[in-house]
């Protein structure tokens, strides 16, 4: 019969969190953390850490920067296209 130790819990944290753990191991994982307070805390803290990172706000391009970028892009690719066209001629 397989036994899961505290060290294994550390190695399995990501697979457990990402739901990529197979059923048999998952049962053993649960059995272990129900018995082991330390590992239960470890799982909680691990999940909390990821929750914090996942809730980072998206970085947005400021409207003025966006307008500047669109203007720049339009001009620059036109320049390249014209150069190419002249070269072909």
């Amino acid at each position: 019969m397989k036994i899961i130790r505290c060290k294994d819990i550390i190695n399995l944290l990501s697979d457990f969190y990402d739901n990529e753990i197979d059923n048999e191991i998952e049962t053993l994982f649960w059995e272990h953390i129900e018995e082991c307070k330390r590992c239960l805390s470890l799982v909680h803290n691990f999940e909390k850490t990821l929750e914090l990172y996942h809730s980072f706000k998206p970085i947005k391009l400021e409207p003025q920067m966006k307008r500047e970028f669109h203007r720049w892009l339009h001009i620059e690719i036109k320049k390249i296209t014209i150069k190419k066209y002249k070269y072909k001629k």
Binding site: C6, K7, I10, N11, L13, S14, R38, L40, S41, L42, H44, N45, F46, E47, K48, T49, L50, L52, Y53, H54, S55, F56, P58, I59, K60, L61, E62, M65, K66, F69, H70, W72, L73, H74, E76, I77, K78, I80, T81
Partner: protein, 215 residues
């Protein structure tokens, strides 16, 4: 202006059509295509560089490079992966320059003096002494400005190979498969790095929480 580029581009055109039009010289289609990714490119660059202007420069570099090299884009991979890869390379190049300049000015102090422990040591620490569950502590929230800074600092301090995976997968929300393609790594390598990076981040956070006696 070519005949194609004078065509009106409908807003709802699918990506494959836009790519095909852009490859045939339709500049308007290329602009539309880039506009679909501009926020993501900027965000990725900002996460790596922590500087608005540098991130904006990466956006410009990426757009230019994509325009010049679009003919080399093979539809076998997704456009999203392709453009992310370009953006990441430009961002990492700038990051290296930033680091070199800081080193020159001898501003880097904490990064060198505060070397990261080996991964095994971090894993080991979870098995030693009293281990406190701080997950339910109301102070541990992103509303807490100081904590947010600590989290950002923790990401910045991660070695590149871990930081890139965390930014792409955890913060920018790319899948494991796409992260692997963007970084040119195998899926199992991404999973290993992701797991280690997550444990590093938990370690950083715990260090701050226990030092600051928040729990």
């Amino acid at each position: 202006m070519t005949q194609l580029s004078s065509q009106l581009i409908r807003k709802d055109l699918d990506e494959a059509t836009l790519i095909s039009l852009a490859k045939n010289g339709n500049t308007s289609a290329f602009e539309k295509l880039i506009k679909r990714y501009e926020e993501k490119i900027y965000s990725l660059a900002y996460r790596i560089l922590q500087d608005k202007e540098e991130a904006f420069d990466v956006l410009q570099d990426t757009a230019m490079s994509a325009f010049k090299n679009l003919k080399n884009f093979q539809s076998k991979s997704s456009f999203s992966t392709w453009i992310y890869r370009i953006a990441l390379n430009f961002a990492l190049m700038r990051k290296r320059k930033q680091k070199a300049q800081l080193k020159k000015a001898q501003i880097i102090d904490s990064e060198d003096s505060d070397k990261l422990p080996q991964f095994a040591e971090i894993a080991e620490q979870n098995l030693l002494g009293n281990y406190v569950d701080w997950s339910e502590n109301p102070v541990i929230s992103l509303e807490n400005q100081e904590l947010r800074k600590v989290l950002q600092e923790a990401i910045n301090k991660l070695p590149d190979k871990y930081r890139n995976v965390i930014i792409l997968k955890e913060i920018e929300g790319r899948s494991i498969e796409e992260t692997a393609k963007i970084l040119g790594l195998s899926i199992s390598a991404v999973k290993t790095r992701l797991h280690r990076a997550r444990l590093y981040l938990k370690w950083f956070l715990e260090k701050y929480i226990t030092k600051g006696q928040m729990v």
